[in-house]
Symmetry: C2
Subunit: 159 residues, 2 copies
């Protein structure tokens, strides 16, 4: 299949600059500086949350995992495929996150809990609609519950 070329619509400005940061994103506030017409976000303030699609720009193309690995290198967690986890060293290096929309100033979106480092190119912003959440009961393995228990924990809890 042909490759697909995307143009960033904005950039993340975050206090988090360390590309290895992979926990304790809770409460972190950042700004999505959009490069779009103001009309393109008209009405967005009616939503409490947005879905942000962004690029893991600090992941080198050559370091992408195409097989399986232990999440976080944790040998006590199973070795699972790169598409069975949300690690950033994944083909196409895309992140998809739901975060709180705190405030809009012009075409700048102030958000909370966005797990994207400073400078991340933004490819799309969508309103979070309840109807797009999972339908029916959600099942997930123990390792991902353990991993997530600190992922969005407040940064003050960081050891």
């Amino acid at each position: 299949m042909d490759s697909i070329s995307l143009e960033p619509i904005g950039v993340v400005r975050s206090p988090i600059t360390d590309p290895s940061r992979d926990e304790y994103w809770g409460g972190i506030q950042s700004t999505i500086e959009l490069d779009v017409a103001p009309e393109a976000i008209a009405g967005l303030e009616a939503f409490s949350h947005i879905v942000v699609v962004y690029h893991f720009h600090q992941v080198a193309a050559g370091s992408v995992e195409r097989g399986a690995r232990h999440p976080r290198g944790r040998q006590d967690w199973p070795e699972v495929g790169i598409f069975s986890q949300r690690a950033k060293r994944r083909p196409n290096r895309m992140g998809v996150s739901t975060c709180r929309l705190l405030k809009i100033e012009g075409v700048k979106l102030r958000v909370e809990d966005l797990d994207a480092i400073d400078g991340s190119p933004v490819l799309d912003v969508k309103p979070y609609m309840t109807g797009f959440g999972p339908h029916g009961e959600v099942r997930e393995p123990q390792w991902s519950r353990e991993l997530m228990s600190t992922y969005f924990a407040p940064s003050e809890c960081r050891p």
Copy 2:
């Protein structure tokens, strides 16, 4: 900012071929034919739902909306920005959907409720983890609740 080039990792095979289909996706079963190593999806069966990032390949680049429009052309709903709705005629033409993972055969994922038409290139697959859902209370406008009331309704309900 530089453009970003992505390589599809698979394709959607769906009974839905009409690009104008924008409702009644409930219960529709389709298959994501991945072009990845089997190890890349090891352990995915432990998750009930996946998040699929795909390309609205039938939307012509020239027809992309960059301002505001009435969702579905409905004059009784407010005119809102393209990033305040989930319409497919959006910059970068990317869809992000959470669907049920029914079965895995080799590197083919059988799914339900995926709102992607036949032939859609797939850019990423992630496991749905509860922790990545919205944090705190969700607020959304009346128009999006109305729109979603038929979006994932069973296809049998289609008028």
